[in-house]
């Protein structure tokens, strides 16, 4: 019962102090909210970029091998079987010349060209899907060694594009983590200073608490609760701003850059809400603990 009463005291005291020093509290909430908006924006951009990259990654993880016209079907199936047996290969699909032609003809943009060509100049194809982008290069080398491949244009492998994409993805991850680290430190410093101001205003009370036999955690509790409260309010504000901006941003992007596969992701909104509220509470707790620790030592 005593613990519950002490918790109730910590919450009541934190709430009272938040309103009593409203100017300082509002300044802290706004500063942290701004930082969390920046952090949330970087998470949203990261997620959007991830969506685009995933889509490209899916596309480039498929290697298409052109089959020379005179290659016997038995050799094609034999090579297909060899590829399928490799652990890095997810699937192998043989596309005949006719299927390739039908697919080509189904595109309205190719109508004019279809009327001008005679016969079927398109090669049969083997479509190989691999698990990791890095594996594409190995399959490409195998295809080029295979006698049945079209000598003029054996595969659609785009080496530079893939390696550039992997590099970009790595740098974006590192950059995002670096930015989050900087923003985290800034938030902790802001909360720490806010709580120190509150501690300064209440130094006499703290001194008395210590003299009448309050434990360190009893004195510290209200400040930590206040820090968490500040962090959660700031996170809620930041979340509101980001959610209001997310859908219009995606819609505008879809309208202007229609070729990029970007879409509104409701699942990510839940993840973002959890991350921001968790981060706000954690930043508030850590910042206030650091801010009050030195002053509360008995």
């Amino acid at each position: 019962m005593k613990i519950i009463r002490q918790l109730a005291f910590a919450f009541a005291s934190a709430w009272q102090n938040f309103w009593r020093n409203l100017a300082v509290s509002v300044a802290a909430v706004m500063s942290i909210a701004l930082i969390l908006v920046l952090a949330g924006t970087s998470l949203l951009l990261g997620h959007a970029l991830g969506q685009v990259l995933d889509s490209y990654r899916h596309r480039v993880s498929v290697l298409t091998i052109s089959v020379a016209d005179k290659t016997p079907l038995a050799s094609v199936y034999d090579f297909g079987g060899q590829l399928q047996a490799r652990p890095e290969v997810v699937s192998v699909r043989f596309i005949t010349k006719d299927e390739e032609m039908r697919s080509f003809a189904s595109d309205p943009r190719n109508q004019q060209l279809i009327e001008q060509i005679e016969g079927n100049p398109l090669p049969a194809k083997i479509e190989v899907t691999v698990t990791r982008l890095d594996d594409i290069k190995r399959i490409d080398a195998l295809a080029r060694q295979w006698r049945g491949s079209d000598r003029t244009d054996p595969t659609d492998y785009k080496g530079d594009f893939i390696s550039n994409m992997v590099r970009l993805s790595t740098w974006l991850t590192i950059g995002g983590l670096g930015m989050l680290a900087v923003l985290t430190v800034a938030s902790v410093v802001i909360v720490t200073n806010t709580i120190r101001t509150a501690v300064y205003h209440r130094r006499q009370e703290i001194e008395l608490m210590k003299l009448v036999g309050a434990t360190e955690w009893f004195v510290r509790g209200p400040f930590v609760v206040e820090g968490v409260m500040t962090g959660v309010i700031a996170a809620s504000l930041a979340l509101g701003v980001l959610l209001a901006a997310y859908r219009p941003f995606v819609q505008r992007f879809q309208a202007e850059l229609f070729f990029l596969p970007l879409s509104y992701d409701p699942h990510f909104v839940h993840v973002l809400a959890q991350d921001l509220l968790g981060a706000g509470a954690a930043l508030g707790a850590v910042g206030s603990y650091v801010g009050v620790r030195r002053f509360v030592r008995l």
Partner: protein, 246 residues
Amino acid sequence: MLAPKFNNRPVISFQRVWKTYPNGTDALRNISFTVPEGDLVFLVGASGAGKSSLVRLLIREEKPTRGRLFVHGQDLGSLRRRHLPHFRRQVGLVFQDFKLLPRMTVHENVAFGLQALGESKRVIALQVGLALETVGLAGMAQNYPNELSGGEQQRVAIARALVHEPPLFIADEPTGNLDPATAWEIMEVFLRINAAGVTVVMATHNREIVDATQRRVLAIERGQIVRDDHYGTYHEDHSAAGFRLR
């Protein structure tokens, strides 16, 4: 609330205690004395003699540099930080500047210490009521400190110290900010508390009170106890019954 309970065990025991500050000043030098349960002791001496350092050691705001200091049988030099709150609850503290929280009512100021212990509202209301009654402020629970006289504010501070029912009271110049008549009223409260069996140690400059009360006097000069009179006066009185350390 206050029931006499004497058995003359030493509540306080200083054993060759030294307090040296980082700048090399010896605030206390080789202090030894004991205070039995139920005693009332005046600490007297000029400003800077070492009274405040002694009080700070007694409430474990500081540790002795050398020697050992026991309060309620606990060695304060080796008392762990986590045990400090429990120790402080056994000591009632009263200061010259009252140290009341201006935004809280009299009731809230007195209840403050009990809230820190997580006591229930019912227990707090009962204990605060008794403490305010003991200091004669039963009708002023809802007043704020700035609505009270200096003497009344000091009574609130005494009630706050009393509310835990501590067996030891330490008062640092409790009448220093009060006029002579009010100082006497406050002293009478301390005498009532002491009569109920509570040990009282009071650092004071108030000669009239010390002389009129005729209780034990420890005189400190330059960090040393120079006089320990059992029925003493503020200044050395060769006719007083007691003993001399120097």
